[in-house]
Amino acid sequence: MTTTTPPTGTTGSRPADRPPQRPVRAAADELVDVSFTVNGTPVSIRVPARMHLADALRTLLGLTGTHLGCEHGVCGMCTVLIDGDAARSCLVFAVQAEGTDVVTVEGLGTRERQHPLQQAFSHHHGLQCGFCTPGFLLSSYDLLVHAEGPLDPQTLPEEMSGVICRCTGYRGILAAVSDVAEAHPEGVPEPMNCAPRTLVGRGGGMSRSALAEAPAEEVAEEAPTALTRPTGTPTITVTVTRQLTSPVEDVWAVMDDVDRLARCLPGAELTADLGGDRYRGRAKVALGPVRLAFEGLAQITGRDADDHRLALLAQGADAGGNRTAAEVGLRAVALLDGGTELRADAAVFLSGRIAQFGRALAGDVSQRLFEQFADAVDETARTGTAPEVGSGPSALAIGVQAVLAAVRRRARAARRALKGRLARRRKD
């Protein structure tokens, strides 16, 4: 513990000599005993490891002043103090609170004896519906208790940006925090309602209740059964070109063979040929802690053998309710040096939770994926058989992969059927 400067207040701070948390080993269906301090009261509860601290506070200890908004660390509603520092209680598992000192809004003050921050929020009308107020109070307490010198009005909005308010426009909140900082230059008073007392949970001590509505395994999202062209603005658009060494005829031969084409895409697999250039398939994505498996449909919507163009439409869904759809255009152009330029244009639509991971990340991954795909096409064109591309290391273009993956699956069955058909076909 060479690092932490203790906060000026003593309540909720972490003693430097606290022993390490005790070892634990718990199976997924096992409850774990956790002991910690909440608002000055020592508590012991039994929780499933997957229960986050906010649920434990609300359900097992009856401290419903800690609110839950997004439950994945974005909104700040659930902000509490853990060992004196403001933290998101939805991003800390209750088991991790072992031995810590937690302060919630209930510990800050009482109705009759409000903390200066509570008085200031009231005075400045720093709340309307009040849902964000507990989070703001504890976030601002943390800011003031650790502040060195006076607050800078220029940076205060950024300092307070860890909690979201949808009512007030923030001005009242910032005014309230500034006021308290000015009124207490020597440091904001400690939480005023921390003392041993009896805490009773809403669930009568049933530690599973908070998770009752959260099934261990959700009902699998049904894989799409019909393809529809996505509308609206794509979540990401990807355009990639890659120079291949193989001549354009060889590259086109791979593009025109759905089976081989699909095998060039990391993580994808064709599972059925539905006829009419439609395929069923699945695609796996593994990126850091993210693991997704999409089931879906793909269709070749355009094929131009003279111009070496291929157009695909694909969509998929995974067990977690994530959906993806993509329109992909592939074009091979002969180069003067005898090689080929392979160009892909993809419009990818994401919905469900993966959309929140969207950003450029999905695009970057898609781009790398396509590069691997293009190299595999090149090798297949050279050798005649698709290389082992594995399940895609970093590769998982969340959207494109799913799409192409879906294509891949069906490819095998498709191949035979395709042979009879001719190269030139347009459906759109």
């Binding site: 997957r50 902000t79 939805c90 800011l143 990807v238 850091g288 790398r368 970093s394």
Partner: protein, 293 residues
């Protein structure tokens, strides 16, 4: 937004933690601060069978100066480093940390966790890359040290094996004549950057000895380039930032390799990178000559 069930182990020693991780045969994840991992679990984008919580391992949360490096252990919180007087030895870390998420996330989030998660838009991987930090990775077959240049292998992909743990990072402390720069543009404070740059310049008597830039949010990982020649070619100019712009615009075409999203096209990110790169290279050079780092 409740994670799927997982087995939970909190070993008391690093050896036990590695053993537990190895026993999961690839189905386990290390839990330190959890500020990147828990949202993934909550959204059920990942459902590892076992979480190995390393917060019970004593001594992993240390921040210590070891000669020419500042060593930050696996469970040292970002906010602990922000507050540590020792962090002054690595000024770039001090510049970057306030941009890592929000205060409330840095209370729990760890420095090593951010590096191990390797989000391409994250600040700390770029800092580690720009400084040439060394990452200490421990597994069943022992401890190895991986230079930052080899550590980051793609979006959320690193050199850490499935049965290994990132136990510490060592940032080189600033030497004489070194100056640094950091800037990012995000839609809101605390968001991942649309584009960001980290710069390091070493100069002696006004002459540029070394200049390095890392961009983040611009590719599938932090991208680092030696720009000594670029900076040297214009170092004497009055308006250094303007003089650097043609060079950084060219550099942007090499470095910015992202596909763009609803918040910014690739072209926008290139412009952004070029502007920030010129500004922060000029700033880092100025500070290097003024002895301010």
């Amino acid at each position: 937004m409740k994670p799927a069930p997982f087995a939970y182990v909190r070993p008391a020693t690093l050896a036990d933690a590695i053993g537990e991780l190895a026993a999961t045969a690839g189905d386990g994840k290390v839990l330190a601060g959890g500020q990147s991992l828990v949202p993934v679990l909550a959204m059920r984008l990942g459902r590892p069978g076992t979480l190995v919580d390393i917060n019970g391992v004593a001594g992993l949360d240390t921040i210590e100066r070891r000669g020419p490096v500042l060593r930050v252990g696996a469970t040292a919180r970002q906010r602990s480093l922000e507050r540590s007087p020792k962090a002054a030895a690595v000024p770039l870390v001090g510049r970057a940390l306030p941009f890592v998420g929000h205060r409330e996330l840095r209370s729990r989030g760890t420095v090593c966790g951010s590096l191990a998660h390797a989000d391409p838009g994250a600040e700390l991987p770029a800092v580690a890359s720009c400084l040439g930090a060394a990452l200490e990775v421990r597994g069943p077959s022992g401890t190895r040290t991986v230079p930052a240049a080899d550590f980051f292998q793609g979006a959320m992909t690193t050199a850490i094996g499935p049965d290994e743990i990132l136990t510490a990072v060592e940032f080189p402390v600033a030497g004489p004549g070194e100056g640094f720069g950091f800037a990012e543009l995000a839609r809101r404070h605390g968001d991942f950057a649309l584009a960001g740059v980290v710069t390091r310049v070493r100069s002696a008597d006004g002459a540029v000895a070394e200049a390095v830039i890392s961009g983040f949010g611009v590719s599938d990982r932090a991208v680092t380039r030696d720009v000594t020649d670029l900076l040297r070619s214009v170092a004497g100019r009055d308006d250094l930032e303007a003089a650097l712009r043609p060079g950084t615009e060219e550099l942007a075409h090499d470095v910015v390799n992202t596909s763009g999203d609803q918040h910014g096209s690739q072209g926008y990110r290139r412009r952004l990178f070029a502007v920030l790169a010129a500004r922060e290279l000029a700033g880092a050079y100025r500070r290097s000559t003024e002895g301010r780092s």
